[in-house]
Subunit: 234 residues, 2 copies
Amino acid sequence: MTKVCEDCVVRDRSLCGTLDDAALTEMSRLGRRRKLAAGESLQFEGDDNILCANVLGGVLKLSSLTPSGDAQTVGLLYPADFIGRPYADTVDHDITALTEAEVCIFARAPFERMMAENIQLERQLLERTLSELERSRRWLLFLGRKSASARLAGLIIDIDRRMAQTGCGADLGIGQLIQLPLTRTEMADVLGLTIETVSREIGKLKDAGVIATEGRRGLRILKPAALKAIMDSE
Amino acid sequence: MTKVCEDCVVRDRSLCGTLDDAALTEMSRLGRRRKLAAGESLQFEGDDNILCANVLGGVLKLSSLTPSGDAQTVGLLYPADFIGRPYADTVDHDITALTEAEVCIFARAPFERMMAENIQLERQLLERTLSELERSRRWLLFLGRKSASARLAGLIIDIDRRMAQTGCGADLGIGQLIQLPLTRTEMADVLGLTIETVSREIGKLKDAGVIATEGRRGLRILKPAALKAIMDSE
DNA sequence: CGGCTACTTGAAGGGGTTCAAGCACTGTGG
DNA sequence: CCACAGTGCTTGAACCCCTTCAAGTAGCCG
C-alpha cells in the first residue's frame, strides 16, 4: 500500500505536517484535490463558508471588491499556505487563482472535527494565523505610509522570498529569474495603486538598474540592497 | 472567600470567559493588574516577547514606526481584547495606552502552559485571532482604496461600535455623546493621513450636519446613515 | 500576419501633503 | 477670577505624487 499523502509536495510544510500517520490517514480521506485555472475562483465574498484547504501549488489571492467596483487584494497564498476560516458562517473574501493552481480541499465541518480531535492541528493553525495577522499589519504600514516605489519594492521582495521558500524556482541570489505570479493589474490591486503607476515605477527600477525584466512576467533582482533601501524609504 | 476574578469587569467577555473555576483560580494566580497612564507604553517593537495580557479598561494602540519616523497605528485595543503573540520570540509592535488604561498581565511562558492545559483557551484565542485578521484586512481595503472622508467615517463608526460593545458610555443611538479615545494626531496615525487632513474632514462632516463635536474629544453622530454612506463611498 | 490583451508612455488634473499661521481649549499661578 | 502659557486643533495657500484620461506599443496566440 502506498503511504498516505505520500505524493503531497507540501506534506511536511503544510498544516498537516504535524499529524501522525493515523491522523494523516483520516485527513487524506477527507481531502479532495482540485486544480484551478488561472483566474478561476474558489469562493466569493458572502458565500456560505463550507470549505478549508491547503495550497499545493500555484499562487492565489484573497481580495475584496469596494462598492464602487475596484478591487483590493488583501493577501497572497502560496504553496503550503492554509485557506479558510474555521468557525465562521460566511466567507469574507474572494479567493482566486492567479496562476494555474492546485488545492487540497476539506469540507469545513469534518475539518473542524479533526481540529477538535488533533489539538496540534489547532495549535498549528493558531501560529499560522498569528503570523498572517502580523503580515497583514505590516502591509497596513505600507499602504498607510509608504510611497508607490517603496510599496512596489516591498512586493517584489516579498514575492522573491515566498517563491524561494516554496521552491518555485526563485532564489535569493542576484540575477535569478523570477516568474511573477501577478499581472500589472493584480500588482496594482495588492499595492493600492493604479496599473499605470505600477508600470512607471517598474520602469524607474529598470532605469536605475535595480531590476531587469524579461517578457511580461520575468524579473531579475540585480541590486537587492538598493531594492531593500527603496522599500525602507518613505 | 471572595470569588476569583470576581471584580473583573471583562471576566465573561475576555479570553478567560470560557475557563472553569479551577482554571480561573490558576489564571488569577498568574495575572497581575497594571494601570497605564495615557501615553504610557506596555512594550516596544523589538523587545523580547515576555508578556500577554487582557485589556480591562481604556483604549490602547498597536503601532509601528517607519524608518523615517512617522507612525502607523495598525490596531486599536478595547476592554476584553487580548494583547500578545504567544509562541513568538520578539514583539512586532509598540503597544501604548491612548487613554488611562488597565491591563491584566500574564508572563508569556506560564500563559502558554495554561493554553496547553486548557484547550478552550487556545480555541478562543484562535477565533479571536481569526477575527482580528479579518478586521486588519478590512482596514487594508480602506488604506488601499478609500478617500480620506471614507476612512474617517469608517473610523468613527468603528469607534462608536466598539465603545458601545464595551459599555464605555457610547451607544448606537443618534446624538449620543462619544468621548473619542484618540487625539487628531492619533486618528491620523490610524488612517494613514496627516493631522491637517483629519481636521479638515471632520470640519466637512460638521458642516454637512453629519456629526457634531463637543470640545476636543466629544463627538455626536447626528446622521448615522449619511456617515455610513460616506464610509462606503470611494 | 492579424488581432487581442497586457503593458507602456504622455499630459492634465486632483486629493492629500507640506509649510505656515492663527485659534481655542486646559491647566497653572498670580 | 483672570492672565498666560502650552499644547492641540483649525485654517490657508502652494506644491507634489499619484490618478485619470488618452494614445501608442509589445508580447503572444490563433
